[in-house]
């Protein structure tokens, strides 16, 4: 690359080969006070979010709101069609025979809640996002196979090429490289 062109650095990418190594590496990066950084693993490593100091997911609230919306819509739909829009006496029951409306209410609640869970998860994760700077690293392809990575981003206020590299080296990384934005 032309040395006069300004290449923008995304961050430092450190590679680890065991779940044990990345767990303790994350604790060290967390304790060093970094904010804009992330770890990447082929599977969810147990309690790694705690080792990174992440707050618990708020997805549950989204799902609760979606589920309640679905259930309310289900009951409202049945109430409105059975009492106002198309009142027909069936089996000598009252127009608003809510006991018989439970199954559809329940199913619609579950349906909306499931969409809430999936779309909420994708939204919180900002997915789909087909481009990411880490994909530029050839070694990063193993993140979905058997390798574990930490990327400290250059946007972090505490980021300093030399000191951050030293910190990562001290965590037992088997390889460290700089990734461009």
């Amino acid at each position: 690359m032309d040395k006069y062109s300004k290449k923008k650095v995304f961050g430092l990418l450190a590679e680890y080969d065991t779940a044990h190594a990345i767990f303790h590496a994350c604790e060290k990066v967390r304790d060093a006070g970094y904010q804009k950084w992330d770890s990447y693993t082929p599977f969810p490593v147990h309690n790694l979010d705690k080792a990174m100091g992440l707050k618990p997911s708020l997805l549950g609230w989204i799902v609760f709101a979606a589920g309640m919306t679905g259930a309310s819509c289900g009951m409202l739909l049945q109430w409105w069609t059975a009492t106002i829009e198309y009142p027909v006496i069936i089996a000598a029951k009252p127009y608003f025979s809510y006991q018989a409306f439970v199954p559809v209410t329940f199913e619609l609640g579950v349906l909306f809640a499931s969409f809430g869970a999936v779309l909420g998860m994708l939204g919180l994760n900002k997915l789909p996002q087909w481009y990411h700077s880490c994909f530029k690293s050839e070694r990063f392809a193993r993140v979905t196979d058997d390798r574990f990575f930490i990327c400290v981003e250059a946007a972090d206020p505490k980021y300093d090429v030399e000191r951050t590299r030293q910190l990562l080296q001290g965590t037992g990384a088997i390889h460290i490289e700089e990734v461009e934005d």
């Binding site: 604790e27 990447y40 969810p44 997805l59 969409f115 994760n125 087909w130 979905t144």
Partner: protein, 466 residues
């Protein structure tokens, strides 16, 4: 095969991945077979598509001529279409049991069988949904049960179990598909990162949504997975409960019983595990997945079949007891007719396959023999199909007016539709094992001993906790 199951060094429990595979070995074992086409796969695929062709023929003639081509007659207005519907939707339930219920109960052994079982669920529910669609005779009006505003100002009757069924089964299909896809995202990323050709990379890449294994993502992902499992568990119980309401809410002796919901759910899980074994026993041997789907996994499934099969047997007995205890002569006649009437042969096929054959699973040697498991699983499939046949037909063919009693037999078109539905199912399953990872890679890796952050290997134990 090892004489003893390998044990986990940390927990002391049986390991779920045998032969000390590394993470990379697991990826290779699962992703390898779907990257190279095999002659055996083509053989199965062609046979399946030929059976699918039979379905196309049977449906074409049905749509042209109408439901008169089936063997339905006056008392038996509900024949193989409902039998096949309940059969297929029941098969689907084992997939959800494995993916959701066993997940909530922290049964880690589910990880190596849940992907294929969920695929089975989705394909079985597709087959099931086909039957209500075609049995209405005029399938272009199938949208009528949906609450859509229309020029006639007519709305569906939300008090009918058949309408609940529309909502239950379509919700079940949608939620199963979402659950399956969420589980697939990290594995599609694995396929994307391994792809040797641009087409494969782009094709898998689009559906992987740019997954990069970020812990910030895993956090929301695991929560979403847990919530979906929590939603799917009551959902799956509701679905077969509502399917049983199709029968139980009617006033017909033989159908009008309160035992139906739990009895149907137990039968569904029983038949579904039968189908899981039918599919996975050959798959694990042809794809060489014995280290991942171990004998212990098969043994666990055999135990579930034994439990649910015995529950089904209890339900058969209890139905007879209640028929006698009720003192109702119509109820008593319906059950005497079921076991000793015109369809005695169907009843005893059902009892032999569903109650007697699983009792062989009391023997450990049978539970650990893939060949015997496969054979008994076929008996379970046959028995559960006959269960639905017995419930539907024996209750209908001798109805309230003896002068209208009749014997019901299927026609060649009933048979062709059933065979064709298997063609649809196996074609979809063939495509699944050809293009998607048959085992949930990320989930299996997470339950291996080396995945534990406190696993230090043999030499570096510092006992440090985070």
């Amino acid at each position: 095969m090892a004489a003893f199951d390998q044990l986990d060094p940390l927990s002391g429990r049986k390991v779920l991945v045998e032969n000390n595979l590394t993470f990379h070995d697991v990826t290779e074992a699962v992703a390898g077979p779907i990257e190279v086409p095999s002659a055996r796969w083509w053989g199965f695929f062609l046979v399946s598509t030929m059976m699918l062709g039979i379905l196309v023929l049977a449906l074409g003639w049905l749509f042209w001529e109408g439901t008169g081509i089936w063997g339905l007659n006056n008392p038996v207005g509900w024949g193989w279409a409902i039998v096949n519907f309940v059969f297929w939707v029941g098969i689907g339930h084992a997939g959800t049991l494995i993916s959701a219920v066993l997940f909530l109960f922290r049964q880690k052994w589910r990880t190596s069988i849940n992907r294929a079982s969920e695929a089975m669920t989705i394909f079985a529910v597709i087959c099931a949904l086909m039957f209500p669609l075609i049995h209405v005779g005029r399938p272009w009006f199938i949208y009528w049960p949906l609450p859509l505003p229309n020029q006639m100002g007519v709305w569906p009757n939300f008090r009918s179990p058949l309408l609940w069924d529309v909502f239950a089964v379509s919700t079940y299909f949608t939620v199963s598909l979402l659950f399956w896809y969420v589980g697939l995202i990290p594995d599609l990323a694995t396929m994307r990162d391994r792809a040797k050709t641009t087409t494969r990379r782009i094709a898998y890449g689009i559906f992987a949504l740019g997954w990069r294994g970020s812990t910030r993502h895993w956090q929301h992902y695991e929560r979403a997975y847990l919530i979906l499992a929590g939603l799917a568990t009551p959902l799956v119980l509701s679905v077969h409960t509502i399917v049983s309401f199709d029968f139980a809410v009617s006033q017909l002796p033989g159908w009008h019983t309160t035992i139906f919901p739990p009895y149907f759910v137990a039968g569904a899980i029983f038949s579904g595990f039968g189908m899981v074994l039918t599919l996975l026993v050959p798959l694990r041997s042809w794809f060489k997945l014995e280290s991942l789907i171990t004998i212990k996994h098969l043994e666990n499934m055999a135990k579930i079949i034994l439990v649910t099969g015995t529950m089904v047997g209890y339900a058969y007995g209890m139905e007879f007891f209640i028929a006698w205890y009720s003192g109702n002569p119509y109820e008593q006649y319906a059950f005497a007719n079921r076991a000793f009437g015109d369809y005695w042969w169907a009843y005893w096929i059902m009892v032999s396959c569903n109650v007697i054959s699983p009792q062989l699973f009391w023997f450990k040697a049978v539970r650990r023999s893939p060949i015997l498991l496969f054979i008994i699983s076929i008996f379970v499939n046959i028995g559960m199909w006959f269960e639905r046949f017995v419930i539907t037909v024996t209750s209908l063919h001798h109805d309230f007016l003896p002068s209208s009693w009749a014997y019901y037999s299927p026609t060649i078109w009933d048979v062709a539709t059933l065979v064709g539905s298997f063609g649809l199912f196996f074609t979809l399953f063939c495509l699944f094992v050809r293009f998607l990872p048959t085992i949930a890679l990320a989930e299996v890796k997470a339950v291996m001993p080396v995945a534990d952050p406190h696993y230090h290997g043999a030499d570096k134990g510092d006992g440090h906790h985070g």
